[in-house]
Amino acid sequence: MARLTVNGHVRHVDDDPDTPLLWVLRDTLGMAGTKYGCGIAQCGACTVHVDGVAARSCALTLAAVEGKAITTIEGLAANGLLHRVQQAWIAHDVPQCGYCQSGMIMAVAALLKQTPHPTDAEIDAAITNICRCGTYQRVRAAIHSAASA
């Protein structure tokens, strides 16, 4: 049994220790907001926060996150209020197919914690998530909007 905290709740799971966190979240805990895109930490669709830092959950084993605090897209809103990144995403109509956007939003929320007012260059360097629809311009505009909110 591995113990981890997901969105503030302590969870015990008995998956094999080498199971990627992504599949623990999706299949064992039934939290499907975190997405599978590539399985090799390249696309960023599976981005979550581990102890507050953005991490790609497809390449993190359960053993590696044991005892840590995980935040997923389902836990980003607080007290019934959407996170300012989620609000900016709605205001800017960012998603198209939307499949990458859970990971994109989690990556951006982590970036704004570290760098409250990122420049375009800082956004380019930090947000390497892949959007197959090509929403990058709206993503960038929404980041600036969330940063000034």
């Binding site: 998956d15 094999d16 199971t19 990627p20 599949w23 999706r26 299949d27 064992t28 039934g30 939290m31 499907a32 907001g33 975190t34 997405k35 599978y36 895109g37 590539c38 399985g39 090799i40 696309c43 669709a45 997923t72 897209i73 389902e74 980003l76 809103a77 959407l82 989620q86 995403w89 709605i90 205001a91 800017h92 109509d93 960012v94 998603p95 198209q96 197919c97 939307g98 499949y99 990458c100 956007q101 859970s102 939003i105 375009d120 260059a121 380019d124 892949i130 959007c131 197959r132 629809c133 090509g134 311009q137 709206r138 960038r140 505009a141 929404a142 600036h144 909007s145 940063a147 000034s148």
Partner: protein, 670 residues
């Protein structure tokens, strides 16, 4: 699609569906029924007592905006309160039972909005008139004295009002008017006005709305490995290494694939990786990238090829020309790479099946499942989910469905079959491999007197539906070089030598335009360069008397002007311009690139001008980039109505997308 001699993807899909499972059997068997509970006003609209309007959407939503845009077409004429609109996908089996009352479910070819304008607006107008008639009857006044606005009917002379929800039940019993008048575009209150997309709030909180997110009671998970060589088959599987593996239930053998079924997908995937599998590669085993290249080079040199367009006398044109320009171009197979890998969840019981699938064509999904299982089409229930990308991958080809239903039948429980990313990339219906050989003869003024476009490569039509490539002519492969080519060439030949490989090919995001525009525009630049003429000037001269010359010139000039064509650039920065029409959208782009000493190419800026016809969804005003754009991508949110209504004039808008150039001012926050 207008170039395919009357065979388009729509009729193709219908024929595939029919061949797959006797689509017509269900027609008329069950009479049309209104949805239980709230009354139905036309098949598209259900209005509840609390005024909630449910609008049915036949097409799939894969990020292109149909789930918002199609209801907007209905709601515009229905004159309902947009904030009370909900949407739902009607089920393909319902469509079958109701004599295809919702028409075609296939979602591709940039057709959803173009083909839905009239039927959906008419559905909205019909329901509005029925609501007015019901209210007028209740008041015992002439309907002509009543009007509808924002889900309320008002009797003008008395000022009395009734809400839609109050009269919906009576309205559902009104005989629908045979003919309805549609609003003039100048009176539109919704179409083209800033509107947020309906499903965006779900998408930003991670709601489980995609196929991959489906979760059923007692559901198992399957990972699949298909033969690594196309058209190869499964020889043997040694599952001895799986004994004692946790969570593993079954190993399922299919003709050309193996699947492992387990309690969790990761257990299935790792067990699959541990299997020793032997494949029979078949004839494709000998094929390599080099052999495909040789095969295609033969196509470039072939003496016969299917003629897509010919005019004038090519040989005479070349004979009269002062100089000859030649170039070859090549592009590889491309996978669709939807970010959501292919998947399908299936539950098969006896001669019935239920599937949950991200598909661009619910009817083809239904037929595909029925065909694979050998059961009647009407015994298949398809639940369409949101698509994590489509791009053509999930449209004509529904290859992710047969393995899923066969695995589910063997397992006897609901199973989610999910392909790994590697499996998805390795088993696509790819954009075709293609080559083009260009030869032009320039006259004394540097303009082409003759141009021969020889193409070769893998034909989609001749492999998926041979009748569409009759006589060795596949006009879709040549799109962009046919009547849709903007340029006037007195002596011109576009021909195509079909060279089909064993690699499956399919429709891929704008299909052949994606490479043909590159071939065409690159070669126009070669000609301009040889003539010593500015590429923009050269294109303006070449456009000549094309029937859409004004549209081509409109976008070309708009892009050039906004990009500052001709103004000086810093050292190491270069500009290029290109022009194309695809599916009734006209587009020109000016790209700025930088070339570093080490050969690295970057594109800090691109200016795109497009004329898409009527725009249905506009972004909310605060988030529009400052370049007054309506949309940055022709794949998104726009109608291309072939027959525009009066007052809906064609317009050209420009969009500047910034990629971080310090000189670009388009990157400021809204």
């Amino acid at each position: 699609m207008t170039e395919t001699r009357g065979i388009d993807r729509r009729s193709f899909l219908v024929s595939v569906a029919a061949a797959g499972g006797a689509l017509t059997l269900g027609f008329g068997v069950h009479p049309s029924q209104a949805e239980a509970g709230a009354p139905e006003l036309t098949a598209w609209i259900v209005i509840a007592r609390d005024d909630t309007v449910t609008i049915r959407v036949a097409r799939s939503e894969m990020g292109q905006g149909t789930l918002t845009a199609l209801p907007m077409l209905v709601a515009e004429e229905l004159a309902c309160d947009w904030s009370k609109v909900r949407t739902e996908f009607p089920r393909p089996d319902e469509n079958l039972r109701r004599n295809r009352v919702w028409g075609d479910f296939s979602t591709g070819g940039s057709r959803s909005i173009r083909n839905s304008q009239e039927p959906l607006r008419k559905a909205g107008a019909t329901a509005r008139e029925m609501l007015i008639a019901a209210a007028a009857a209740q008041w015992n006044v002439p309907a002509s004295e009543c009007s509808a606005f924002n889900s309320v009917i008002t009797h003008g002379p008395s000022g009395r009002t009734l809400r839609y929800g109050e009269v919906a039940e009576a309205a559902a019993k009104v005989t629908p008017p045979k003919d309805v008048r549609l609003k003039d575009a100048s009176a539109w209150r919704l179409i083209g006005k800033p509107t947020g997309r309906i499903e965006v709030p779900d998408k930003v909180v991670g709601k489980p709305i995609y196929g991959i997110d489906v979760r059923l009671p007692g559901m198992l998970y399957a990972a699949i490995a298909q033969c690594p060589v196309f058209k190869g088959t499964l020889k043997s599987v040694d599952e001895s290494k799986l004994s004692g593996r946790r969570g593993v239930h079954n190993v399922v053998r299919l003709k050309d694939a193996v699947a492992v079924v387990a309690d969790r997908w990761w257990q299935a995937k790792t067990a699959l990786d541990a299997l020793a599998i032997e494949w029979d590669a078949g004839e494709g085993g000998e094929v390599s990238s080099a052999s495909i290249r040789e095969f295609l080079l033969g196509g470039l040199a072939a003496t016969t090829a299917g003629v897509g367009r010919a005019q004038g006398k090519l040989a005479e044109g070349f004979a009269r020309s002062a100089r000859r320009v030649e170039a070859d171009y090549a592009v590889p197979f491309l996978a669709h790479a939807t970010l959501e890998p292919q998947n399908c969840t299936a539950h098969v019981t006896g001669d019935r099946a239920e599937i949950w699938v991200p598909t661009q064509n619910g009817e083809a999904a239904m037929a595909s499942a029925a065909h694979a299982l050998g059961i009647p089409t009407q015994n298949v229930i398809v639940h369409k989910t949101m698509l994590g990308g489509g791009f053509g991958r999930r449209g004509v080809t529904q290859d992710f469905i047969p393995p899923a239903v066969l695995i589910a039948r063997e397992v006897g429980a609901p199973v989610k079959v999910l392909w790994s990313r590697e499996e998805d990339t390795g088993h696509d219906y790819y954009r075709p491999v293609a080559m083009a050989r260009m030869a032009a003869g320039l006259d004394a003024s540097g303009m082409p007197a003759a141009w021969h476009v020889r193409m070769t490569g893998n034909s989609i039509w001749s492999t998926l539906m041979p009748v569409a490539a009759r006589g060795g002519v596949d006009r879709q492969f040549q799109e962009g070089f046919l009547a849709d080519m903007p340029y006037d060439i007195p002596n011109y030949l576009a021909d195509y030598a079909i060279r089909n490989t064993h690699v499956p090919v399919g429709f891929w995001r704008c299909v052949n335009h994606t490479q043909n525009c590159f071939f065409k525009e690159s070669f126009v630049d070669e000609m301009a360069h040889a003539a010593g003429i500015d590429p923009l000037t050269y294109r303006r001269r070449l456009i000549g008397t094309h029937r859409n010359a004004n549209k081509f010139l409109g976008v070309l000039n708009a892009a050039a002007e906004r990009a500052g064509w001709g103004t000086p650039l810093p050292p190491g920065t270069f500009r290029g311009i290109a022009l194309n029409e695809a599916y009734s959208t006209f587009v020109a782009a000016v790209a700025e690139i930088t070339l570093a000493a080490d050969g690295t190419v970057r594109m800090p800026r691109i200016v795109v001008a497009l004329d898409p016809g009527t725009v249905v969804i506009r972004s909310p005003p605060r988030c529009r980039p400052r370049a007054r754009s309506c949309s940055a991508s022709p794949r998104r949110s726009m109608a291309r109505s072939p027959s525009r209504t009066a007052g809906s004039s064609s317009r050209t808008s420009t969009t500047t997308a910034c990629c971080g150039s310090p000189r670009c001012r388009r990157s400021r926050p809204c």
